[in-house]
Symmetry: C4
Subunit: 456 residues, 4 copies
């Protein structure tokens, strides 16, 4: 990471990240408290006043801190640490104004300025401005969804739960507020079954509100609590319209996650299924079918070891260093390439193809046309020869030993069958490519030839 | 755009488009007013009569205008401005008949012809013919969905909201109409809880209707309002059947949008995830893993700069002019190609491959086999050399400077490593292709050789 | 179609198909009548008795007919018309037994045998065997879904509606049957609000049943009708469990149809969107962007004309005859290929690539490297030349005229630009392939050369 | 399968599998009984006590057995049968502790130790530990989903039904428990409509519980039963929140299954549809269109015979042995390759491409350029010649007969058309590849030439 000016913090600074995470917790508190104080007004001026002010203070600090956080310029992908540019960006992109508006404790200011202790619900509504902070939660989830250290499934799942709970909580609080402010208590959704609901305590009122809210959101609609006056009906209409959207959104997201999660299983099942149908339609013997199946199943189990195609997207330089890390030692210690120049090694290694074989798979077949030769990286291979229909064991090949090179060099049908004994990794290089790379290095070519002669 | 005959308007004429948009607003009014007047009959002959007539007048004008709007012939893709053909097409494709039928103010005609002021609800039902105009809204949304200037998500979303609201509104109005026309008011869905509902005013009746309608549509079904007589039950049955379809349609659309929106994220996450698993399974060192990850993440961030494959669909001529616009100046000012003929430039430029590199990526590796040479378009590259394991900085390359051409021309392993300093764009051409294109231009070939000698 | 033995009918025989379609209508009647007769017992022995017997008679006829319908053998794909095999297959695959069981009028048989007029509901339940005929509806829909003459969307949609209506109807009838057979009428779902429901007539009872059924299925659940005794509760539990499955099935199918329907739009939008982002990120001039966009939009509009890749799946013979049908005349009348042998034409035509160009697209660019030459099939092309930056019109090319052949034959950069005037179809052949095909035909080669000379 | 030490059981041992399946049944019993005993306390100490103890005993046996079951090591893919390693793995992966905790009969132990017969519901809750066994059901379904012998659709479907039923049952039991333990019976969900519910018997209480539970889960919410006190409301809130998730999960899974099931149909329909549009846009004659359609339809019907691309994933050795099993006999008996060496056969056979042709398809066209020759494996082909526009039948080709070899060997346009008579399988080899493989085998080459001369 580049060095920044004094007092300027990088956005990916560890401490800044923790500070942001801490603020998220405060946002969750605000998201809960703001609608709650609208419904249960006394709390906003009572027991919740102090926590509210403390939370506001922290967000005020964050506004100040924001002037000292560098940002990434989108066109050059460089960090900008010029305080003027940072300030301009923060103020101009309008976040600043809303940040300040959602942090000022208007009620306290009013009290200080006018000296009056006003309890009107106006301030509770002004406090809803704090919900602007929810934007941070949105940003957090957007970032988490792209961060592979966290499961996409759970990130998304928690987000959906959070959205649902917030909708339930807000609607419940609004509905309770409507009941409190309606003239005839008997004609409200809660008053119709419990006229003295206001004196029964916050806890009871809150449970009733949430209960009504979730009964409506989940579309259960028992009907024990329902709108009693026109105002409640209108609110209910909008809440239900919103719920149709929310429910579709929940189901859509769930479907998306399930569909994505099942893709791998479907690919595996379909492949195996097709192979199985091919085998039975062509009446292949059972042993052959078994062999096909067990190969495929093991292949899907070891899939994470074989992702050569993933590497293809990386720049050549990274791929080369990966190949060197993984195979250079093996190549250097193989009898055929022992002692050749570093230059040649550096050119050969990136061209190697790595392959994994589950146990009991034939890698080279006797009599097949030679195209590649192999170096064992890990695991064990058996060298076998077929004579008059019987299989004879010749030799066991371990790491750094080679297979198939005799067929390639003499350009004759492979004299041996080579079969894996256990999960084995080999690297492979085609003989045309090998010749092409070695040709310009005459000295190295001679070393290889003499290595080979010595081995024979 | 081609010139059209006098008085004929092109369908994509800006003013005609605005006129169409204005009519859409009137359609929305009609969609709301027609069912509303069925339920609250007095309005149709009262306060809503004048706006209805004004709206009808506008649609009458549009019928006339339609005879002067050219259309696109599907087989030749040419605009047809022959008035006869336009008229034939409009009248014959049956739209005309319905347009007229949905515009004539039958009630006024009846009153004028018979002299009687008939208030029967027959005319309110005839006015439902105006819903034919909704076809325009359908057409509009079909066009918007294909217009990339508008977000598909929001277009679709607004369409779904519109459909839902229209269903809620229409069902509510029909249901209210049934209550009004039932003999025993106490045995209607609304009369059972408020017998004098007709005298309570339109507003209250409308809210009750919408409330019942949305309670049913969202399947909440509190049960405070429910069908009381057989007629209402039958209507309710059809409305609920319709709602099952509508709900499925809403959820299906939502799922579709979410699934499509998540594809990009899934691709990114899956790619990074596989790479990460590859790294950990193969126990690659952390620094290497970090390098792989940061490359991939930057790649996904700059994806919109690298869409060469999108261009592949365009005809050669367009691609050539894009390439010339972007790279001709760079090529002309590069030392090697300075002074060559315009012909050769014109043949070379379309063959260049453009690539973006995030900061700190190796573009050419020392000792690798030379295949391409590069010209810097923007950004900065570093030329480095490795000696006994230490890296030495040689030179900085800016726009129009070249890299890798020495290895290519002498056909030797690349003598230098070239690495990007910041987000950089380079163009690349393979040396075989380069030779092939230059070969026939002998004079230009000589210029290139002398340029190269001079540079050395 | 092959000839079959006497009296044997092919399964795809037009009259047999109509007979099958007619039976489907009777199946729909059976599906409605069987549960209905269980609930409203008197009907089964009263006014519905005659139609039931008539329907049974038709199905009895179909059982006989089935012994004369050939079938397609799955292993040889040949029609089997051997009566013994047909009979064996029909009886053995068990359809026969159920067909007979669902057709016998047990109630009539009982009355004839015992002489008693038994009205017990046992026979109504036995009549539910007729629902076995629904299998035919399932088969029909399975066939329709694969038949491209019918819209998949509507086929599926109608199937879903049918399934839903059948579920609603059956559950309603069962529920009514339970109420009728419960001892204490006041303790039944319908009796609790209308004790004398049985004497109120079938129509009212049926509406109440359907109403309850659909209120439950759509999960509205007003609660005005609800289970009153344990038996009803148990039935209700199973119906609701079934409904969860049915609702998911409806939504899943809807989603599937919507997702599939949107794929094409998404592909179009994404392609255009990416191109647009490429243009703006690379700051291409507006005119160039316009050209790119209009090309892409026209391309998507003419997509059905350009499905060469669809043809790739067809066997060579069919592809050849299509190509000959479409292009042979054009090739034979082109000046260059006039008079060559039929053999050569037959070999050339299948190798032609057909392409459509929207208006104003450059097909050949002056100075580009010649690779293909073109013959106009339909539409018009303009031949242009660029001199000192100004474009000069040279010639108009119509059907059977050629473009680009001069560059190809002399192997020089194309001397002219060729641009489409309107939607045009051209065929194209690469010059390497052309040489390769013509080479062995020495006489034809000479004709081509003399044609070319004459043209110059 | 490898041999294991004495007393050690392989995890895929047939008898062990059956034992596991038997335990699954006991798990289902536990899943039902544990919540049930919480609600209906007397049962847990009464009639269900003995079955509970028997089930616990079986799971105790399984804990012992688990110490003798080998496991598959993930890194070497070998079975580990070392008792120490097995024990360490079982105890350390924490399954052991929970297995024991969920098996100990705490109630009995308590009674034995203290001598008191305690009926407190504490033990019922402790028994909920048995739900840990559900993990086995999860494992089973995870395994079944990957096992292609079972339909994925039904596996998944049964899993969803199981999850739903378990949720309904558990919630019902908990809700009943709450009613039993509330002071004022009249203020409970069930007591409010039936105050003496406890004395009405278990069966009635269980039906009411399930009824309420399923009414809530399916979101029908009639409202005849609903929460009456705060505790019930809170429980209800959590149950409804859970249900939103469960419903989305059910719908998402259903959609996933339906979407996957429809892919094949969509591909088929889209292909046919595009071809049909191509034909009509290009005004191809009806006979040609018919031919195209019937080819495609047969192709989709015989798709399982043509899955060459599935084989591509298998290792070369398996592919070779499949090819040898299928085609060696045919190749050996074909007149051209009769008598050649086994070596050459072994090299030729894996390179053959197998193809199926529906009846009446042209395989070779007279006059086309020869590229491949064919050997019939099964079915029948017709050899035809075209003379002056009329088709003449020449010869019928059966298994092991060859087609197209004359054109290939003399390198002349194919002299005959070859067409399939019925569903036929042929193998095909390109003449370049054939020459390349045969070249090094000089003796075999001579045999082939003499075979060919003899045939002429």
């Amino acid at each position: 990471y580049p060095r920044l000016r004094r007092f300027i913090i990088a956005p990916y600074d560890r401490r800044y990240r923790w500070w942001q995470m801490f603020l998220i917790i405060l946002v969750v508190y605000s998201a809960w408290a703001s609608p709650f104080e609208v419904a249960f007004k006394k709390l906003g001026t009572g027991s919740l006043l102090v926590p509210d002010l403390v939370v506001d203070a922290f967000f005020a600090i964050d506004i100040v801190v924001s002037f000292f956080v560098a940002y990434l310029d989108k066109s050059t992908y460089l960090l900008i640490d010029d305080p003027k540019k940072i300030a301009f960006r923060y103020v101009a992109r309008s976040g600043f104004t809303m940040d300040v508006a959602s942090t000022l404790p208007f009620q306290i200011i009013y009290r200080v300025v006018t000296g009056k202790r006003n309890g009107s619900s106006l301030f509770a509504f002004i406090n809803l401005l704090r919900l602007w902070r929810l934007r941070r939660v949105g940003d957090l989830f957007a970032r988490l969804e792209k961060d592979i250290r966290f499961s996409y499934f759970w990130t998304r799942y928690i987000k959906l739960i959070f959205v649902t709970l917030f909708a339930v909580h807000s609607a419940g609080c609004m509905y309770y507020w409507m009941a409190v402010h309606y003239r005839i208590k008997k004609m409200t959704w809660i008053g119709s079954i419990m006229e003295d609901f206001e004196s029964r305590g916050i806890w009871l009122g809150y449970v009733y509100s949430l209960y009504w809210s979730i009964v409506t959101l989940s579309t259960v609609g028992y009907g024990d609590l329902h709108a009693m006056n026109t105002g409640e009906r209108v609110f209910n209409i909008f809440f239900m319209l919103f719920n149709i959207g929310l429910t579709s959104y929940l189901i859509g997201n769930m479907t998306n996650l399930i569909v994505h999660g099942a893709i791998r299983t479907f690919i595996m099942r379909d492949t195996i299924h097709e192979l199985s149908r091919y085998a039975s339609k062509n009446r292949l013997p059972d042993s052959m079918k078994q062999q096909m199946m067990s190969h495929l199943q093991l292949k899907f189990k070891t899939v994470e070891l074989q992702q050569e195609e993933v590497l293809a997207d990386l720049p050549k330089a990274i791929r080369s260093s990966i190949a060197q890390h993984l195979f250079q030692r093996t190549v250097e210690t193989s009898y055929l390439l022992k002692g050749i120049s570093e230059d040649l090694i550096a050119q050969l290694v990136p061209e190697l193809k790595a392959e994994y074989f589950p146990p009991k798979v034939d890698i080279i077949l006797q009599n097949e046309i030679p195209t590649d030769f192999y170096i064992v990286v890990s695991g064990e291979l058996d060298m076998l020869t077929h004579n008059n229909g019987t299989e004879q064991f010749l030799q066991r090949l371990g790491p750094a030993e080679m297979a198939g090179e005799i067929g390639v060099i003499f350009n004759i049908p492979q004299p041996f069958t080579v079969r894996s004994r256990r999960l084995s990794q080999v690297v492979r290089i085609g003989h045309h490519l090998f010749q092409q790379i070695v040709q310009p290095h005459i000295a190295d070519g001679n070393i290889i030839i003499s290595n080979f002669k010595q081995h024979l």
